[in-house]
């Protein structure tokens, strides 16, 4: 029974890699969108933009892999003591999480593709990630870029809010409910209180 109470090693690895990348992306995105407008930080901000694009695409790939992995390897069930409302809230939060961590990089990719500047995306300086052809070929790109930029930003703020909720819920499960919801996603640990 122990194995089915924990997430698989692959799911745990993907969760924490994506979590680390998302926190980095949120901080970088918040900083660079302002810093790019100031002469003294513009040069650094441009480089951070390039890293942000690379890291965002990494999240896109990892998130799709994770979703596929999840469909093949269903996660352990929620603890027995949860109310119906808590269960619905947990599933809705996680569903929205998956939607956002895939939709946000897609919107970013679309916005880069529709940028009038036409800068290529070189993933971590190694290889070129193509633009979305239909957007890169548009006659008037600016309004389309603006739509995706707004979508990218609004969803990123939504993700930040969801992240607070997610961390808060995990801590509540661990310290208030004293169940294994947090520990079963922590690496190098065994499930609590079950043998």
């Amino acid at each position: 029974m122990r194995d089915s109470q924990r997430y698989t090693a692959a799911a745990i690895t993907l969760h924490w890699l994506i979590a680390l990348a998302i926190v980095t992306l949120l901080v970088a995105g918040w900083w660079m969108t302002d810093a790019i407008h100031h002469p003294e930080t513009k040069a650094t901000a441009f480089k951070v933009y390039q890293l942000h694009k690379s890291l965002g695409l990494t999240v896109l790939v990892l998130s799709v892999l994770r979703l596929i992995w999840r469909l093949v390897n269903p996660p352990p069930p929620l603890p027995d003591g949860m109310t119906r409302f808590e269960r619905i809230a947990a599933h809705a939060t996680h569903g929205l999480f998956y939607a956002l961590i895939i939709a946000i990089p897609l919107a970013g990719w679309a916005m880069v593709s529709a940028s009038p500047f036409g800068l290529p995306t070189i993933v971590f300086g190694l290889f070129e990630w193509p633009h979305i052809p239909v957007l890169a070929g548009l006659e008037d790109k600016r309004p389309v870029e603006a739509v995706f930029r707004n979508a990218h930003e609004i969803m990123a703020y939504g993700l930040a809010a969801l992240l607070v909720l997610h961390v808060g819920a995990a801590l509540k499960h661990h310290f208030v409910n004293r169940d294994d919801v947090l520990t079963r996603m922590l690496p190098f640990l065994r499930a609590r209180g079950r043998a």
């Binding site: 790019i36 002469p39 513009k42 040069a43 441009f46 390039q50 036409g118 290529p120 070189i122």
Partner: protein, 211 residues
């Protein structure tokens, strides 16, 4: 620097494709014009010079988002007839393959050939052609010239020094180009908030006297 001819580039005849029938006559005229256009520098009286590849470079520089960049054109050809004693008979024509521009930054190098920048798909070369020379004292000179690229022909001033030593000569010069004069980057950055509007071009050439 590589020669354009080594790269399979051939000067295009200006009229050959547009002449009416009879086709043979048109072809003949086209060939004659081509021979004239290629051979005309030979007709100049002053000294002809051959560029030493590997010892010569054309570079450009600027700033993007606060980062300075510097690039070179790897492939170009120059037909140079220059004699300080006969400036009126002097003439230089330089043909530059725009796709050979490299900065060493893959992001820039992938962007430069695109439609809003060099647009190499519609015009693969830039052609610099002098119209007059002025002596500025000592080894210094100034050339009035035209620079044609992206379908626009713009007058430019090229300031340079020329030092001849027997059969060798060195030339170092620069021109202050404004990218919007050629419509470069107008669509993406028409006010220079990203890429500097001033793009200085530096030329350093070693030459040997043509046989």
């Amino acid at each position: 620097m590589k020669s354009l001819r080594d790269q399979g580039y051939r000067p295009r005849t200006r009229l050959g494709g547009h002449l009416p029938n009879p086709p043979f006559f048109g072809m003949l005229l086209g060939v004659a014009l081509w021979v004239l256009s290629v051979a005309s520098p030979v007709l100049a009286d002053s000294t002809r010079w051959q560029v030493v590849p590997g010892e010569s470079r054309i570079s450009f520089s600027g700033e993007h988002a606060g980062n300075k960049f510097k690039g070179t054109f790897g492939t170009w050809d120059a037909v140079i007839a220059f004699d300080p004693a006969d400036l009126a008979g002097s003439k230089a024509t330089v043909t530059i393959a725009l796709a050979s521009a490299k900065t060493g930054d893959i992001t820039y190098d992938k962007t430069m050939p695109t439609a809003d920048w060099f647009d190499v798909a519609h015009g693969p070369t830039a052609v610099f052609e002098t119209t007059a020379f002025r002596a500025k004292g000592s080894d210094a000179y100034e050339a009035d010239a035209t620079l044609s690229m992206r379908g626009l022909k713009v007058p430019v001033v090229f300031a340079f020094t020329f030092k001849a030593d027997g059969d060798h000569a060195s030339l170092a010069g620069s021109a202050k180009l404004k990218r919007l004069d050629f419509g470069i980057g107008r669509g993406s950055d028409g006010d220079g908030s990203w890429v500097s509007l001033d793009i200085p071009v530096e030329v350093g050439v070693l030459m040997t006297r043509a046989p």
